[in-house]
């Protein structure tokens, strides 16, 4: 079983916000080492989907299977009930997330931001984590900025620190939520380069992205969402070149520059 079981399996995911159904039954699988890109117009439910994946928000219906085991629910007294926030924490450390607005902790330096969770959450020795964190900073080409505070860094630098912070947890998959959307065009490149490196190393990533160039050249698979449903998915070159639905055709039209 374990050899063929995908890393992540999503079945019939439904999320309602108030009266509105934001996700109307999403199904897909992600295999180890895959680079998956989720595209779609704003309001299509992409960011909500990503937050459901690591259970920052809990779905109303459907199942998420991580390495073959369902997450978000626990068996207690023969009943299936929602997991508590505390019970979700170990899962979240395995599937890290990078945000559109970086969300670095403003009172910590770049290095402190990175070592915070490995030391405080995983309880790993500080010296060891610090050495790894410095290596990660070098990898995102910020070795010289380790003592800088977030407000002293450009958006591109902050986002690369945020990626290093996520990697420091040694996650098995990474979620990227429009990580270049808040950046000026000249800063997007440095972040996309880091994401390319990660893909080349075989990191499993699920990205919500508007960077069609990145999606075409790096993603193994693209998922097009429209109004809370997956409308098309498959190899990005085929799917994007040859839309089967009018919605994707319109979307491709709108983002082609």
């Amino acid at each position: 079983m374990s050899g063929t079981e995908p890393l992540l399996r999503v079945e019939g995911l439904v999320k309602r916000l108030g009266a509105q159904e934001v996700l109307k039954g999403i199904d897909f699988v992600v295999h180890r080492g895959e680079v998956v890109a989720i595209i779609g117009a704003s309001g299509s439910g992409k960011s909500t989907l990503l937050r459901c994946l690591n259970l920052l928000i809990s779905p109303d219906n459907g199942r998420i299977l991580w390495k073959g085991r369902e997450v978000g629910w626990v068996e207690r007294g023969g009943k299936r009930i929602r997991a508590t926030e505390r019970e979700l924490l170990p899962y979240r450390t395995e599937i890290a997330m990078v945000f559109q607005s970086f969300n670095l902790f403003p009172h910590m330096t770049a290095l402190q931001n990175i070592i915070e969770a490995p030391v405080m959450v995983l309880g790993r020795p500080k010296a060891e984590v610090t050495a790894e964190a410095e290596a990660l900073l070098a990898k995102v080409r910020l070795g010289h900025r380790k003592d800088a505070y977030p407000h002293q860094m450009s958006g591109g630098e902050q986002q690369r620190v945020a990626i290093a912070r996520a990697l420091a947890m040694k996650p098995e998959a990474l979620l990227f939520d429009e990580v270049t959307s808040a950046l000026d065009p000249e800063l997007k490149g440095e972040v996309l380069a880091v994401m390319r490196d990660l893909a080349a190393e075989g990191m499993t990533t699920i990205s919500v992205s508007h960077e069609m160039g990145f999606v075409r050249s790096v993603a193994d698979r693209v998922i097009f969402m429209h109004k809370g449903r997956v409308r098309e998915s498959g190899d990005p070159k085929t799917v994007l070149a040859n839309p089967q639905t009018p919605e994707l055709a319109a979307f491709v039209e709108s983002v082609t520059d």
């Binding site: 920052l56 926030e85 607005s101 969300n103 670095l104 959450v121």
Partner: protein, 218 residues
């Protein structure tokens, strides 16, 4: 002037008492206010709402008289200094609770989300991520309240606490020169209040230089 000089040693004791009471009241009321604000987070804390409304709405003097004159009838006799401390803690806690509740609400929710995504449990999140932001956001309203609170300590003279205003009032009885005495007392409170505000400016400035603007640099 001569009365002021003759009474100077007593004034020094009184200044010391004022500072000491101020410190004790500030520490207790701040901690209680913070604890109440944290407890009330995310729930309908009707009880706390009522408490803060009552103690922010009542004149400090009335609370003070209650602690000093009424509580002994209920078997709680704290003496003049004890009553004054209790009264100002009751009032201060109400103000601090409101300040910290507002500050907690002002913390960028995206930072909490980031901490959750890193697997940080609620207690750790609060200690390492949320409270440092609260400290920055609350600094100015907190210091502003304290500067006002120092002046309110002068009311403790109403229940014969031997702080600056009390010594002033006693000295008035034997002085031909009340103006000098009262101005001196005013200057003492003004000096303490100004020190609080200067400290706030310095600390706030230092934090902005080091950590960027208070409401998150994202």
């Amino acid at each position: 002037m001569d009365v002021l000089l003759r009474q100077f040693p007593r004034f020094l004791d009184a200044i010391w008492l004022t500072l000491w009471m101020f410190a004790v009241i500030t520490v207790i009321a701040t901690l209680l206010g913070l604890a109440l604000a944290l407890w009330a987070e995310g729930r309908r804390a009707r009880g706390l709402d009522l408490y803060t409304w009552v103690f922010r709405g009542l004149p400090e003097l009335v609370v003070l008289l209650f602690c000093y004159l009424a509580l002994p009838y209920a078997g709680i006799d704290l003496g003049s200094i004890g009553s004054a401390i209790l009264a100002f803690v009751l009032v201060g806690t109400a103000f601090h609770a409101e300040i910290f509740r507002a500050s907690l609400r002002a913390v960028d929710p995206r930072l909490t989300e980031a901490a959750r995504s890193l697997g940080m449990p609620p207690g750790l999140r609060l200690r390492r991520v949320v409270l440092p932001q609260v400290a920055r956001i609350a600094l100015t309203p907190w210091a502003t309240f304290l500067a006002g609170n120092v002046k309110m300590l002068s009311l403790a003279s109403a229940v014969s606490v031997g702080e600056v205003m009390m010594v002033t009032r006693q000295s008035l009885a034997i002085s031909q020169d009340p103006l000098t005495l009262i101005l001196f007392a005013g200057a003492v409170y003004a000096a303490i209040a100004s020190l609080v505000m200067i400290a706030e400016t310095l600390i706030g400035g230092w934090m902005t230089r080091r950590y960027g603007p208070a409401t998150g640099g994202t």
